[in-house]
């Protein structure tokens, strides 16, 4: 039924757009660039006026655009982009092909706008209408402007958006609309990154100084994205300045960060960044109680222009965390711990224009994640978890007409992964590989200026020790109600073939879908409304409903449930993931409101989220449903960034005057309902072993004292509230600038509760129980300096 409907719809699209085409029409296409750096501009607006025609297009992720069906004649072309001066000219469309057009835009002359998104000539409503359902974009400047925990962090910045939450201050992991972090697809230049965490999750691995653009889809994403249920976080790193060398050096209390962009003449450019913490080389040298821990990440990206119709991008990224700590250096038998984990990514992207209407993007990517863990205490444990992902994918875009664009692609992904754990209790040796072959088709149809319809399918075949096949439909519809308002709808079915064991203070462990772990699925439905207010504010609201099936949580009782596959001598060997996870379903729903101001001297947003989720997992909570830990019923976000002079003068919508120095204020406020947790419902006394028949009143901690859990996640911690503040003073010296900054995380020093501790003591012959709280991060000031040259 769905297939028949799609076929009829597709035929209607072709017929309607074919009718619009004539033999005497022409096509123009080309690229949009930043004049200063030579980098392509993503999402620039190209408009064409004249002869009673008003048409246009937006540049894609490669800066490429196409406008078709143009009758010959003279037209006014207008090219505009956020923060840039518009380009306007008269062009003649005639018998001779105009070839590939190249438009170089100049950044607006306002100099104080480093953290600001400047006003542009594109109507805010047009940009809002073009934006995909449940999507948001963030630039490097916007990410860096949000007050941070010591160092800038992309994922923590995203946590300030409606629908995206964190579990605690100690984790940068993002939970999107009831989903878990392993349901997010993280991409860096097209390569998937499996565990984007530093410092046991406190920081993420994305170096914000290297980022060109971030696209985030909280749901309803198209068929070109695969293998994740909840969201897509697509990071495109800077290609590099093609005209002049430029750089950024950032020094914070714990890390140094250098980013360089170097032109390669007509060939292209190269850019790279390196970041490393230095606690191990400073404080840890003086205080032996501080573990010599460090993390680093770096990337190199080369952009090679191989002609007008071809370019090649080579990208490499590596991150690592290392902790090697012995409690007593003088005693070789003293407890020690060694943890090392990291990601290695490599991608090759060839973009080619087969014709002005057919754009091709070919990827070969490698993504490796590895972790190793060795602990020597009273007994030794060693663990390793290598994962290697080899992917080849092809994406074609065919600009059939101004009304119809067709996308098609195919992908093959091979993942080798293993988990090895060796201890006195046995050996875990789970290894294998998976093969995923997929293909998709997607049509973007604009039957008239008020409607925009996208629909497509994704076919997936997944092979491990069993085979899964799916054909997932995706649909997105947008309708302009008025010039400044629109409604949007999206729906789709998504599958995922990997799940991760989330471990506090340890790297995640990935496990593929197999005979024991079924393929996970979610059906998503999203309805949104957007309203532009005064061409300055963008108000949007969305409601969503998600129905998850076959999602997994870690089985904490796995030690009692698991059985060995065989014995090596007397040692049990486990080679199966059976009983490691518990299967379940989830229903998640919510309402999100966002009022956003991206233009002018003061930018920011206010967001509110009302959401809910219900989980039901096999054998958990006596089979009754419960609220997952990541659910937050109400969330309020408030983010403000701005030039201090502009704030106090009330000139919020104007650009700040050019000056050699400026003060920039950043503010981030968050309120969330308390986290659902499981409390013990009661205490009881049972000796662990019969030989310990020792219930007494001697005042000692009794080994027989035990806590019995209550209903799962039925208690909510107090509301989480936090206000962060940053102040930056920026001084320009012509070709370079310096910007020392001071920031405070949790300026109110609110004692947000992390978890609850339970203790028992004997007093006057009775056991007295008491509870205390363990809090999250306190008032945390930090400072640093950024130098741009």
């Amino acid at each position: 039924m769905i297939k028949n409907f799609a076929a009829i719809l597709f035929a209607a699209m072709l017929m309607s757009t074919a009718y619009a085409q004539t033999n005497s029409s022409f096509t123009i296409s080309g690229f949009t660039y930043d004049k200063k750096t030579g980098e392509t501009l993503i999402g620039a607006s190209i408009s064409l006026f004249g002869k009673g025609i008003k048409t246009g297009a937006y540049s894609n992720n490669s800066g490429y655009f196409v406008i078709t069906n143009i009758p010959p004649g003279k037209y006014t072309i207008n090219v505009s982009y956020v923060g840039y001066d518009s380009y306007k000219n008269i062009i003649t469309i005639g018998e001779k092909s105009s070839g590939l057009l190249k438009f170089y835009l100049t950044q607006s002359a306002y100099k104080a706008g480093e953290i600001l998104v400047l006003g542009d000539s594109i109507n805010v409503s047009e940009r809002a209408f073009e934006r995909q359902v449940s999507s948001l974009n963030m630039t490097q400047q916007q990410v860096n402007a949000i007050p941070k925990v010591v160092v800038p962090d992309l994922l923590r910045a995203l946590q300030s958006m409606p629908g995206i939450t964190a579990l605690s201050d100690f984790s940068s992991a993002v939970y999107v609309r009831g989903g878990t972090p392993d349901q997010n697809l993280y991409l860096i230049d097209g390569a998937e990154i499996y565990d984007p965490e530093h410092a046991f999750g406190i920081f993420s691995t994305f170096n914000t100084d290297a980022i060109k653009k971030v696209e985030v889809y909280k749901g309803g994403f198209g068929p070109q994205y695969d293998d994740r249920l909840s969201s897509v976080i697509d990071v495109i790193d800077d290609e590099g300045n093609r005209n002049n060398m430029q750089g950024v050096f950032d020094l914070s209390l714990i890390a140094a960060n250098l980013t360089l962009q170097i032109p390669l003449g007509s060939l292209g450019s190269i850019s790279g960044s390196i970041r490393r913490t230095f606690i191990d080389q400073t404080i840890a040298k003086w205080d032996t109680l501080i573990p010599p821990y460090y993390f680093y990440d770096g990337n190199v990206k080369a952009f090679l222009q191989l002609g007008d119709k071809d370019n090649l991008t080579l990208s490499y990224f590596k991150s690592g965390d290392n902790l090697n700590f012995t409690t007593d250096q003088s005693n070789p038998q003293s407890p020690s711990i060694y943890i090392n984990w990291g990601n290695t990514l490599g991608s090759l992207n060839w973009k080619h224009l087969f014709s002005d209407k057919l754009f091709s993007s070919t990827y070969l990517t490698y993504s490796g994640f590895s972790s190793a863990f060795n602990m020597r205490e009273s007994a030794s444990i060693s663990e390793s978890n290598p994962l290697n992902d080899y992917t080849a994918k092809e994406a074609l875009t065919y600009y059939y007409s101004n009304e119809l664009t067709l996308d098609a692609g195919a992908e093959y992904k091979k993942v080798d992964l293993s988990y090895n754990n060796s201890s006195s209790s046995g050996v875990v040796d789970i290894s294998g590989n998976t093969h995923e072959t997929s293909a998709y088709i997607n049509a973007e149809w604009q039957p008239d200026p008020l409607w925009q319809i996208q629909g497509g399918f994704r076919f997936e075949q997944f092979l491990s020790d069993t085979t899964y096949m799916h054909l997932d439909p995706r649909l997105s519809v947008k309708y302009k109600l008025t010039l400044n308002s629109s409604i949007k709808f999206a729906a789709g079915i998504y599958h995922q073939y990997m799940t991760a064991v989330e471990r506090p203070f340890a790297p995640d462990i990935w496990a593929p879908t197999d005979k024991n772990i079924y393929d996970s699925q979610v059906s998503q439905f999203i309805l949104g409304y957007e309203q532009q207010i005064g061409n300055i504010f963008d108000f949007e609201t969305e409601v969503y409903y998600k129905n998850y099936k076959n999602i997994y949580i870690y089985n904490y009782n796995v030690g009692a449930d698991i059985s060995p596959s065989y014995y090596d001598g007397n040692t049990p060997v486990y080679t199966s993931s059976k009983d490691v996870f518990i299967r379940g379903n989830e229903k998640a729903y919510g309402l999100e409101l966002l009022l956003r101001k991206d233009v002018g001297a003061v930018t920011g947003w206010i967001g509110y989220t009302l959401s809910g989720a219900k989980d039901i997992f096999d054998g958990v909570n006596q089979g009754k449903s419960f609220v997952p830990q990541q659910e937050r019923t109400s969330v309020i976000n408030f983010v403000l960034n701005g030039n201090v002079n502009s704030i106090f003068s009330g000139r919020w919508n104007e650009q700040p005057e050019e000056s050699s120095s400026s003060w920039i204020l950043g503010l981030n406020f968050i309120y969330t309902s308390g986290q659902p947790i499981t409390l013990p419902s009661s205490t009881y006394f049972v000796n662990t072993l019969p030989a310990w028949d020792n219930y007494n009143a001697t005042g000692q901690k009794l080994p027989s004292y035990k806590l019995y859990p209550g209903n799962i996640d039925s208690y909510r911690l107090p509301a989480y509230i936090r206000l962060d503040l940053s102040i930056t003073w920026k001084k320009n010296f012509g070709t370079w600038s310096i910007a020392p900054y001071f920031q405070v995380f949790n300026i109110g020093n609110r004692k947000n509760v992390w978890f609850i501790n339970y203790t028992s003591n004997e007093q006057n012959g009775a056991i007295v129980q008491s509870v205390s709280t363990v809090n999250q991060l306190p008032f945390l000031p930090s400072l640093g300096v950024t130098v741009k040259f």
Partner: protein
């Protein structure tokens, strides 16, 4: 051209906007302070029959403790702990045969029920707690014959020496537990350089947590129980905290004991949250009703 009054209006608008902004910032700063209170009400508390009962093949039923649980935050006295026939209308039976109550030890027994190897026994208890009539059952399948420790006196060892307990298995029994209790335990004979502890302990630390170091146990799971080869358990330094002779009781455990030992003491996760243990009771019971075959080993840690 704007008039003077227009300029005034604009200025007023700016001032009002700033006032609203600062009021808002002040409000969120106030909200962003403070220490939220944690109010743990006991609404989720349900009274439960708490069982500590172990059966041993070749022995009669004895020392079955029936107790109650308590809401969090309550003060608990020993006299409130045990369920008695008179105070709680307790009716307890094993395989339908009633158990008697010994008021001296506050335990239930029946010398007529002799436990056998490889047999199934169901405990059924009715009791009233806090005015609520409760009922629970649990079934244990006792291990088969076969378990025995090979060398029951291992001799003296220095701290850090490798100590191994070798044993023969009971067929079908995959889980074995070892209880370590020193004959003498005090801060004076404590092993302060034990590498099972990451921080340096003082004598008062030891004194304040003496039972924590005195009562230790270790497990070995998924033993190849049908193999005729000897199995072994390596004693770790986490089990021996005192220079003393030790009595080690070794248990070949049934599935209930295994589930209890592996899950009930570990219901709190690293991040403070709780999860459910594997429950072997139907109805309103918690704790353990298990069975095992036991043996005893001795050794000493000397300076």
């Amino acid at each position: 051209m704007t008039s003077k009054s227009d300029d005034m209006k604009l200025e007023n608008l700016k001032m009002n906007t700033l006032k609203i902004l600062f009021a808002f910032m002040l409000m969120i700063m106030i909200f962003g302070c403070g220490k939220p209170g944690v109010n743990l009400n006991s609404s989720s508390y349900d009274p439960k029959i708490t069982v500590e009962g172990f059966l041993y093949p070749g022995q009669p039923v004895s020392d079955i403790k029936l107790m109650r649980n308590f809401p969090l935050g309550n003060s608990i006295s020993q006299s409130d702990l045990y369920l008695t026939p008179s105070g709680n209308n307790v009716n307890a039976s094993i395989n339908g045969t009633a158990l008697s109550f010994d008021p001296l030890t506050q335990t239930y027994f029946n010398n007529q029920i002799m436990i056998g190897y490889g047999k199934s026994y169901t405990l059924e208890v009715y009791a009233t707690i806090d005015g609520v009539q409760l009922h629970t059952t649990s079934t244990t399948l006792t291990p088969l014959k076969g378990f025995s420790v090979i060398n029951k006196n291992l001799g003296n060892f220095s701290y850090g020496d490798s100590i191994t307990i070798n044993f023969q298995t009971s067929p079908g029994t995959v889980f074995y537990s070892f209880s370590f209790v020193p004959d003498s335990a005090s801060p004076n004979n404590f092993i302060y350089n034990n590498n099972g502890e990451r921080k340096k302990l003082s004598a008062s630390d030891v004194a304040n947590n003496l039972n924590q170091y005195k009562f230790r146990y270790g497990n070995v799971n998924n033993v190849d129980s049908y193999s005729s080869a000897e199995q072994s358990y390596s004693v770790t330094s986490r089990s021996t905290w005192f220079y003393s002779s030790y009595t080690v009781v070794a248990y070949a455990c049934d599935e209930n004991m295994k589930d209890y030992l592996l899950t009930a003491p570990n219901v709190q996760e690293v991040n403070g949250n709780f999860h459910e243990p594997i429950e072997t009771f139907q109805g309103d019971g918690i704790g353990v009703f298990g069975s095992s075959v036991t043996d005893t080993v001795r050794f000493a840690i000397v300076k």
